[in-house]
C-alpha cells in the first residue's frame, strides 16, 4: 500500500508517522512536500502532527492554503483515504474537509499525556481492526484540541455516526472527568460523512511499538491496510 505523509513547514510528527508506516507495518511510504503536487497513485494521505506555520493565526489556518492541499481535497473528493492526526486534524477542519473547529484547551495549557478513547464504531477504514466499545490508550499532545461545532452541526455529526473516538475513563465511561480539553461530546476523532477522511487529536503513531510501552495505536494503521487489502 502506498502512503504519502505531507510535510508542511513546522510539521514535526511527519518522521514519526513515516517510521511507523515504513518500519513497523512495512508499507511503502514517502514524504510529500507541501509545495509539491500530490503524487498520483497514493492509497492514503496522512497529514501529520506538529505546528504547521508555527500555529500562527490559528492552528492549521495557513497550512490549509499550501499548494499540496488542492490535491488532497481532490484526492478526498474521489474517495481517497485521508488521516489527519493532531495538527493534521486542525488542517482538515480549516480546509472544510471535516466539520467544526479546534479551539484552545479549556485549561489553556498544552497537554501531553496518555488518554483513554472509546471506539464508537468499527465500520470505518480506520477502525476495522478494533471493536465498537473497545477502550484504547493513546497519547495526546496539543494545546488546541478542544473540539467545537455548533449545535445543529453537532446533531448532524452524531446522527450520522461520524464520531469515531471519544475521550473516556479507563472503564470506557464517557464523562466530563475523562475529557482532557473541553471537546463537545468528548469528541476525540471524527470522520466525514463519506467515511474516507478521519481527523483525530490523539497520536496513534506514538503508541504503535512495544518498546514505547503502548501499542494500541497500531490498530488504526492496521485497519487502513486491512481495508485497502479487502478492496483490492
Amino acid at each position: 500500500m502506498k502512503f504519502g505523509v505531507v510535510v508542511f513547514p513546522g510539521s514535526n510528527c511527519d518522521a514519526d508517522v513515516k517510521h511507523v508506516l515504513q518500519d513497523v507495518v512495512n508499507q511503502d511510504t514517502r514524504f510529500v512536500w507541501h509545495k509539491d503536487p500530490l503524487p498520483r497513485a497514493l492509497d492514503c494521505v496522512v497529514l501529520p502532527g506538529g505546528f504547521s506555520y508555527g500555529d500562527y493565526l490559528r492552528t492549521g489556518a495557513i497550512a490549509r492554503f499550501s499548494p499540496v492541499m488542492e490535491g488532497v481535497m481532490e484526492f478526498a473528493a474521489q474517495g481517497g483515504l485521508v488521516l489527519g492526526i493532531c495538527n493534521g486534524f486542525q488542517v482538515l477542519t480549516e480546509a472544510g474537509l471535516l466539520p467544526g473547529a479546534l479551539m484552545v484547551n479549556k485549561n489553556l495549557k498544552f497537554m501531553c499525556k496518555p488518554v483513554y478513547l472509546r471506539v464508537e464504531h468499527n465500520g470505518t477504514p480506520f477502525t476495522n481492526a478494533l471493536n465498537a466499545g473497545d477502550v484504547i490508550e493513546v497519547p495526546i499532545a496539543h494545546g488546541e484540541g478542544n473540539y467545537f461545532a455548533d449545535p445543529e452541526v453537532l446533531e448532524e455529526i452524531e446522527r450520522n455516526n461520524q464520531v469515531v473516538f471519544r475521550y473516556c475513563t479507563r472503564e470506557g465511561v464517557v464523562n466530563a472527568q475523562a475529557n482532557p480539553n473541553g471537546s463537545v461530546n468528548n469528541i476525540a476523532g471524527l470522520i466525514n460523512k463519506e467515511g474516507n477522511v478521519l481527523g483525530m487529536m490523539p497520536h496513534p503513531e506514538r503508541c504503535s511499538e512495544e518498546v514505547i510501552g503502548r501499542v494500541d495505536g497500531i490498530k488504526v494503521f492496521q485497519s487502513i491496510i486491512n481495508w485497502w487489502q479487502g478492496r483490492k
Binding site: 513547514p9 513546522g10 502532527g49 498544552f110 514505547i212
Partner: protein, 733 residues
C-alpha cells in the same frame, strides 16, 4: 573618549587602557562596544577561566571537549551524542515566558550547529518557595515558555528538575540542556576556515532586540532591572524549526565549513570566535546584513541579540545551493562577508571600515581576573544542633507533609505541558530517575539526568559539588545506563564577593574529583555569575547534566515497583545524615548542618553493582535515595508502581527522623523477583557493597514501615498518591 562611555558598557578603566594598548590607538564607539561584550564575563569567562581549568576534560569517550558549540561523546557504531547545558536566568527573571523560551532556542541551536539532530531537551529550574504569587508567576511563565518553544520545535522535553528554595526567590535559575544525535562523519564545527570562503547570515533578520544582553547577564539584578525589559528578546520557534531543518540539510549535503549560532553578543561573538578557532580573520559588511528595522547602525547590527540567526561559512562556490535550500524552507541566506588571512575582525559599512580589531585581542587577550580564594570564617550560623529539634510524634503526618513539598512532589503539572513523546524515542518518560531515549535502528539508548542540590553546595561547596556529579551519575545508573560525560551550568552569585568566589572554587574542585573518579569528563557548559537579588546571592548551584549509554534498552530500569511479591533491597549504607536535608528545610525551616558525606569509591562500586545486575536482567526497578531520604524514595516507588510495600527498616541507633529522612548518599533501592536473589547477592558481595533487605512489594496498596519491631509509617498508596501528585497542580490553579 569620556570614561562614562566605557563604564556604561560595563568596561573597567584598566580594561579600557588595555584595549588602547592592544589596538595601538583609541577605539571608536563600535570597537568599544565589541570589546565590551567580548570581554564581558558572559563571553570571556574572565573570572572563571582559571578555575575551570581544574575540570578533567579527557577520556576515551570524548570526541569534543570544551571550546566548541557543544560537547560530543562517542556512543559506538560511528554515532555520537552532542550535548550542552546553558543558563537563561536573568532574561527569565525579567520576562519568564520569553526568557525561558529563548533559552531553549539558544541551546538547541548550539546542538544542531554541530550537525546533530536534537533528540531531547531537559530543563533544570529553581525558584523561591512556591507560596507567593511572584514565584508562581515566574514558575508558570517559565514552564509555558519552555513548552511553547520546545513543543513547536518538535523536540521532546524529557526531563530535568525543579527545586524550590527561598534563596532563589529574587533570581530564579533556568538552565536548559539539549541532546542531539549525529553520525560522527557528519560532525560540523564552529570554525571559519578556508581563506576566501564566503560568510553568510542565515535565519531571522536582525533587529534592535537584546543589545548588550551579554553585559546584562554579567551584572546583578536590581529593582531597576525590570525597567531594562528591552534587553529581552522574543523567540520564534517556527523560524527555529525551519532553520534547524535547513541547517541539517546543508550539512547532510556537505556544503558547510563551519557555523555558529549568533547567541549572546550576536554577530560579534560568532564572527570572532569562528575566526579564532580557525586562526583566520573575517571581513563583514554590515550593510548586507538583513535587518528588521530601518536606520540600524553598525554598532546595533554587531551587538543585536535577535534570536534564530546563524553565521555560516559554506564551501566556496556552494552559495547558490545553500540559498536554494534555505529558500525551500522559506528562509534567506545572505552573503555578508568573507574569510580573510589577516587575523582581524574587519567590519565595513559599504566601503567604509567602521571597526578593525585583531581577533586575538577579542578572544585570547581578554582580561583574566584572579580573585583570591578566601574561606569565610564565620559559618557558625550554619551549624546544626539536632537536640534543639524535637522528634516528630506522628511520622505519617511528616511523610505526607514532605511528599507535598514542591521540591519532592510530582512534577506532572510541569511535564504534562511539555511534549515528551514527539520523535517516538522516549522509552523512559519524565518522572523516573533519568529519561531514556532509544536510538532507532539499534538496540542502544541514551539516558540523561540533570542534578544539583544547591543547599548542599551552600553548606559545603566541595561536598556539594561532588554530590551533584555523583547523584547525576547515580540517576543515570538507576536507568541501567553507563554514565559517559557531563556538561555543567555553574550558577553562582557575584564572584567579586570573596565568599562567592570561594564557593565557586570549592564546587569545581569537588565536581572535578567526582568526574575523575567516575570517569565522566566535562565536555563543556556555561558559567552564570551575578545571580543575586536584593536578598543576596543564590545558593551556589553547579547543575550537572549527565548523559549515559545503555547497550540494550531492553535492560532499562525505572523507579516504579513492578510486581507484588518482589523483594526490595537497599544498596548502600544508612548513616542518618540530616544536614542540608529537605526534611530540615521544609518541616523545620532550617538550612543547616553538614551535607551528607560521599565516598567516591563506594559510589563507584555501587554503580557497578546496579549496572551489572541490570545487564544480567536481575532487577525490576532501581531508585536513588535523594531529597526526603529513604522514606520518600520508597513512597515514590510505591506511588509510581501503584502497589504497596512492607518494609523493615535497617537497625539504627540514632533518631528515627534521621533514619527515615536522612539523605545519606550512595544508596539505591532495587526490587527483584526472589529467584534472582542469589545472583544479585553474588554481585553485591563481589563488589563488597553494604546492603539491607528491606522487605517485599505488596498487592494491598499500603506503605508500611517498621523500625525495631514497631510500625512507624502506615499509609495507603491512594492517599499519598493524591498528595504527591496533586500538590503542585493545586498550588498553581
Amino acid at each position: 573618549m569620556e570614561p562614562t562611555v566605557w563604564r556604561s558598557m560595563g568596561l573597567r578603566d584598566d580594561e579600557y587602557l588595555r584595549i588602547k594598548e592592544l589596538l595601538g590607538r583609541e577605539p571608536n564607539y563600535v570597537e568599544l562596544g565589541i570589546f565590551a561584550v567580548m570581554w564581558s564575563e558572559h563571553c570571556s569567562y574572565k573570572t572563571s577561566k582559571p578555575v575551570l581549568r581544574k575540570f578533567p576534560t579527557q577520556g576515551r569517550q570524548v570526541i569534543q571537549g570544551p571550546g566548541e558549540n557543544a560537547g560530543v561523546v562517542d556512543i559506538g557504531d560511528g554515532q555520537a551524542v552532542v550535548f550542552k547545558i546553558e543558563s537563561h536566568n536573568h532574561p527569565s527573571a525579567i520576562e519568564p515566558f520569553q526568557g525561558a523560551a529563548t533559552g531553549v532556542g539558544g541551546i538547541v541551536r548550539d546542538v544542531f550547529t554541530m550537525g546533530a539532530r536534537p533528540i531531547a531537551i531537559l530543563d533544570s529550574l529553581r525558584f523561591g518557595d512556591l507560596d507567593n504569587n511572584r514565584t508562581k508567576y515566574l514558575f508558570s511563565g517559565v514552564v509555558s515558555g519552555i513548552s511553547w518553544y520546545g513543543n513547536c520545535l518538535g523536540i521532546p522535553t524529557v526531563g530535568g528538575e525543579v527545586f524550590f528554595d527561598k534563596s532563589y526567590e529574587g533570581n530564579p535559575l533556568v538552565n536548559a540542556m539539549c541532546i542531539g544525535l549525529v553520525d560522527q562523519d557528519k560532525l560540523a564545527k564552529g570554525a571559519a576556515a578556508g581563506i576566501g570562503n564566503p560568510v553568510m547570515a542565515v535565519g531571522a533578520r536582525t533587529g534592535r532586540d537584546g543589545i548588550h544582553g551579554a553585559t546584562f547577564a554579567s551584572a546583578e539584578l536590581t529593582e531597576a532591572s525590570e525597567e531594562s525589559r528591552p534587553s529581552v528578546q522574543v523567540g520564534d520557534p517556527f523560524m527555529e524549526k525551519l532553520l534547524l531543518e535547513a541547517c541539517l540539510e546543508i550539512i547532510s549535503e556537505d556544503l558547510v565549513v563551519g557555523m555558529q549560532d549568533m547567541g549572546a553578543a550576536g554577530l560579534t561573538s560568532s564572527s570572532s570566535e569562528m575566526a579564532a578557532r580557525a586562526k583566520t580573520g573575517l571581513e563583514i559588511d554590515v550593510s548586507l546584513v538583513p535587518v528588521r528595522e530601518t536606520g540600524m547602525t553598525p554598532y546595533e547590527i554587531m551587538l543585536s541579540e535577535s534570536q534564530e540567526r546563524m553565521l555560516l561559512v559554506p564551501k566556496k562556490g556552494t552559495e547558490d545551493r545553500v540559498q536554494e535550500i534555505f529558500e525551500k524552507w522559506g528562509l534567506k541566506a545572505v552573503k555578508v562577508g568573507r574569510v580573510i588571512e589577516e587575523r582581524v575582525l574587519r567590519i565595513k559599512e559599504g566601503e567604509n571600515v567602521v571597526a578593525e580589531i585583531p581577533v586575538q585581542a577579542l578572544v585570547d587577550e581578554s582580561p583574566v581576573c584572579h580573585y583570591k580564594v578566601v574561606e569565610p570564617l564565620d559559618r557558625e550560623n550554619l551549624k546544626l544542633d539536632l537536640d534543639a529539634i524535637p522528634e516528630p510524634a506522628d511520622y505519617n503526618q511528616v511523610l505526607k507533609s514532605l511528599l507535598s513539598s514542591p521540591t519532592i512532589a510530582s512534577k506532572e503539572w510541569v511535564y504534562e505541558q511539555y511534549d515528551h513523546g514527539v520523535g517516538i524515542n522516549t522509552v523512559v518518560y519524565p518522572g523516573s530517575d533519568a529519561a531514556v531515549m532509544r536510538i532507532k535502528g539499534t538496540s542502544k539508548g541514551v539516558a540523561a539526568s540533570t542534578d544539583c542540590n544547591g543547599r548542599y553546595c551552600y553548606l559545603d561547596p566541595y561536598e556539594g559539588g561532588k554530590i551533584a556529579v555523583a547523584e547525576a551519575a547515580r540517576n543515570v545508573v538507576c536507568s541501567g545506563a553507563v554514565p559517559l560525560a557531563i556538561t555543567n551550568c555553574l550558577n553562582f552569585g557575584n564572584p567579586e564577593k570573596e565568599e562567592v568566589f570561594w564557593q565557586f572554587n570549592k564546587c569545581i574542585e569537588g565536581m572535578s574529583e567526582a568526574c575523575r573518579r567516575l570517569n565522566t569528563p566535562v565536555t563543556g557548559g556555561n558559567v552564570s555569575f551575578y545571580n543575586e537579588s536584593p536578598q543576596g546571592a543564590v545558593h551556589p548551584t553547579p547543575v550537572v547534566g549527565m548523559v549515559g549509554l545503555i547497550a540494550d534498552i531492553d535492560n532499562r530500569l525505572t523507579q516504579a515497583f513492578k510486581t507484588a511479591g518482589s523483594k526490595v533491597l537497599l544498596l548502600g549504607e544508612t548513616k542518618g545524615e540530616l544536614g542540608g536535608s529537605e526534611y530540615l528545610y521544609y518541616i523545620h525551616k532550617l538550612t543547616a548542618g553538614t551535607p551528607p558525606g560521599l565516598d567516591l569509591n563506594t559510589e563507584q562500586r555501587l554503580h557497578r553493582v546496579v549496572l551489572e545486575a541490570a545487564e544480567k536482567g536481575l532487577l525490576l526497578s532501581a531508585h536513588d535515595c535523594s531529597e526526603g531520604g529513604l522514606a520518600v524514595a520508597l513512597a515514590e516507588s510505591v506511588i509510581t508502581g501503584s502497589l504497596g510495600v512492607k518494609v523493615k527498616l535497617p537497625q539504627f541507633d540514632g533518631r528515627l527522623d534521621a533514619l527515615l529522612f536522612g539523605e545519606d548518599q550512595s544508596r539505591i533501592i532495587v526490587s527483584l523477583s526472589e529467584d534472582m536473589m542469589p545472583e544479585l547477592m553474588e554481585v553485591i558481595n563481589r563488589h563488597s557493597i553494604p546492603y539491607h533487605v528491606l522487605g517485599e512489594v505488596t498487592e494491598d496498596g499500603f506503605l508500611v514501615l517498621t523500625a525495631s519491631g514497631s510500625e512507624v509509617i502506615n499509609l495507603s498508596t491512594g492517599e499519598i498518591t493524591n498528595i504527591w501528585r496533586e500538590e503542585i497542580r493545586c498550588r498553581m490553579s
